[in-house]
Assembly symmetry: C2
Homo-oligomer: 416 residues x 2
């Protein structure tokens, strides 16, 4: 073959809803040398990661560990381990990632009922509760923050209704964990999945999740141990979990003192997750949520000062994703390309009906910092001027700086 | 929570069948900053990784890419994308990982026929061909090198027989790729899966695989695009692939210019895979296979000089795994613990009927080097003396050094 060349990675400021920039110390942790998977030093790191994860996910659940795969691997692990052939599943969709839940639940054999609302809004919890009473599902699967529309669904009332009715509530909190409040136990969430590549600021490739004893009870009923000799299918009930790799009943034995030999844990990614979680708790969850809120406020102030229109219902805006309506005389992809090529700044487009209609600007994790917000506003303004857009000039960065200044006066300490 | 502490990773020499030590430049590559998944610089790395992979897997197949998960995620992706409810699958098992194939194939709904042979041996290919004619499977799934017993199954004759009969041959080559010849095309293998954490010397977490147009034809028949609105299951045939995350028909669209938005590629792991593959081709496949053979010869000479007995039929020995019978008066786990605690050297135990009976010493990838073999022999000898084992003293390292010296005289250049 032709001569190979060394890896080339240009500098980037990633202002998308993920993957975002990783914390530098996470990348350093990932370059640590490999430990064997049953080395006591490694199993200690596994146990400590579980403990850190419980704090970040605000839960007392015993089970809190990552699935070795990207976010949707964790979602599929949860759904395929819980949903059996013919189970009724209710999925309220307020964006693209809700439809992903329906897709996975259907492949698990679920009888899926979909609720929909206009993109840019979320559901009145009472409507979901009414639908629960109509459909009587075994499981509700719902997204907490859907990055495709930049909206966040309140969950507390839904959790209470599910618990009262014996319905299992499974939540995709990939976008929100470590960027805004996600109270697993207080909101009565039974199973919750997140991802590493968003507000955790760890590279993509792991899906931390947690679940309580209500879900564990389902897993125990469906558990099957890897077989040796038998060739007969008859010994296995049709309740068997369809996946081996994503079978939570086996994964929890791997993450227990039994150390069931399942997969080989992704050593370097686990190092990164450990360090990422450690940094989150060192910063403090509340401080981190405030930082995400502050940078969002500054970004929004800047965009509005530029006279750009924001998309969607502001009362349910996702704090770490800001959706901007693309001005009518501008080609959204040309703007994104120029931002990337000239400034090394990446913002996102969207999916489906919103593709070409909005940009999505992420302020997540390590990418969520004052310097990035100010530079993104300055660069976006320059590109829009270059593309003949009708915007207010010279206002955006000033407005954002005013937000930061005001905050510094009221709260002089803290990372921005 | 109590104070967190920085990641602690003690130095280790990993002489197991994986995960093994990663190449230092792979770890450095993995600490590069994150790129967005659709950044042209990142999609270039994806395309270049596919090209490198084709060379390492010795194939002209178009499809050659990693699944974001550990080896068994790749195995399950291949099997669940190909095997449909009721398909006849033949799995010849000569060790633990053959049984894993039966386990996964059964969960895919396959009608699985198992062939077995004594552990420590492999199959006469003619027996497998006869079984094919008896069972008439759609798919044969077989392990190339089973690390649990340290044996390697010759595949060429099986591949020819499968091709003549229209049977799909799927091979788990997790242990062997980049350590010994694996001729995907020449041996007429239709689908092949490997892992990163063995002879590739990349951390665990990815499963590179390849498949030809015979497998692609099955995928195309089973393809389904992620749905939006429909709640009816009736539009989907029962041929639909049961997994979303491991659906190769969707994954290949993600790895094509279409760039279907499926998962978020595991950025840092892909950097590592790219660098690992590049190093393999820079060393040269033949030189790398010779290095693995040389270190195996030196290790075997040392173990035999110590008067330790090797396990299994030497005519089908896996070059990168050497199985040693644990002397009768010695506790195998005490020896492993002392090696780890006193010398920082890890060797492996085994599974099932072989647990407590043999140790398994790996010589894979970056771990496969003269220094490691010599130090492992010296340390093992010291520990065995300490544990009162009856061995020849002072012979092992000398015998291994003689093997290296002889090789250096006949072949003065090359990495050992």
């Amino acid at each position: 073959m032709k001569q190979t060349h060394e890896l080339m990675v240009p500098p980037r400021t990633i202002m998308t809803p993920g993957p975002v920039e990783a914390e530098p110390s996470v990348l350093r942790a990932m370059s640590s040398t490999i430990l064997g998977q049953f080395d006591p030093n490694f199993t200690s790191i596994m146990n400590e990661t579980m403990a850190l994860l419980r704090h970040v996910l605000q839960t007392d659940n015993h089970w809190a560990f990552p699935v070795d795969g990207t976010s949707r691997a964790g979602i599929e692990a949860m759904l395929c381990s819980v949903i059996e052939e013919g189970d009724t599943v209710l999925v309220p969709c307020f964006g693209r990632f809700g439809y992903l839940l329906t897709e996975i639940a259907e492949r698990c054999g679920g009888d899926v009922h979909v609720m929909e609302c206009e993109w840019g809004t979320v559901f009145d919890p009472d409507h979901i509760v009414a639908k629960i009473d109509e459909v009587e599902p075994k499981v509700i699967a719902i997204v907490h923050g859907d990055t495709s529309t930049g909206r966040m669904q309140p969950l507390k009332k839904i959790g209470e209704a599910c618990r009262e009715r014996g319905v299992l509530l499974i939540v995709d909190a990939v976008a929100t964990v470590a960027g805004t409040e996600v109270k697993t136990d207080e909101w009565m969430i039974d199973g919750l999945i997140t991802g590493t590549q968003k507000c955790l600021s760890v590279p993509p490739g792991m899906a931390p999740l947690t679940y309580n004893d209500r879900i564990e009870a389902v897993l125990c009923q469906r558990k099957s141990i890897e077989k040796g000799l038998s060739t007969a299918n008859t010994v296995v009930s049709n309740r068997r979990i369809r996946s081996n790799y994503l079978d939570l009943s086996q994964l929890q034995d791997y993450w227990s003192p039994a150390r069931l030999n399942h997969h080989t844990e992704a050593t370097s990614m686990l190092y990164g997750l450990y360090e990422g979680l450690r940094l989150i708790l060192t910063e403090g969850l509340n401080a981190r949520f405030k930082r995400h809120k502050l940078n969002e406020m500054a970004l929004v102030a800047g965009l509005q000062a530029m006279k750009l229109k924001l998309f969607g219902d502001m009362s349910c805006k996702l704090p770490m994703v800001t959706c901007v309506v693309i001005p009518s005389n501008v080609n959204g992809e040309h703007v994104r390309t120029m931002l990337l090529e000239e400034f090394g700044i990446e913002i996102a487009s969207s999916f489906g009906v919103l593709h070409g209609k909005i940009w999505r600007i992420g302020t997540m994790g390590y990418s969520c910092q004052k310097r990035n917000v100010l530079m993104t506003l300055a660069a976006l303004e320059a590109v829009l001027i270059r593309q003949q857009a009708h915007i207010s000039k010279g206002e955006a960065v000033q407005a954002a700086m005013d937000v930061y200044k005001e905050m510094e006066m009221t709260n002089p300490v803290g990372r921005t």
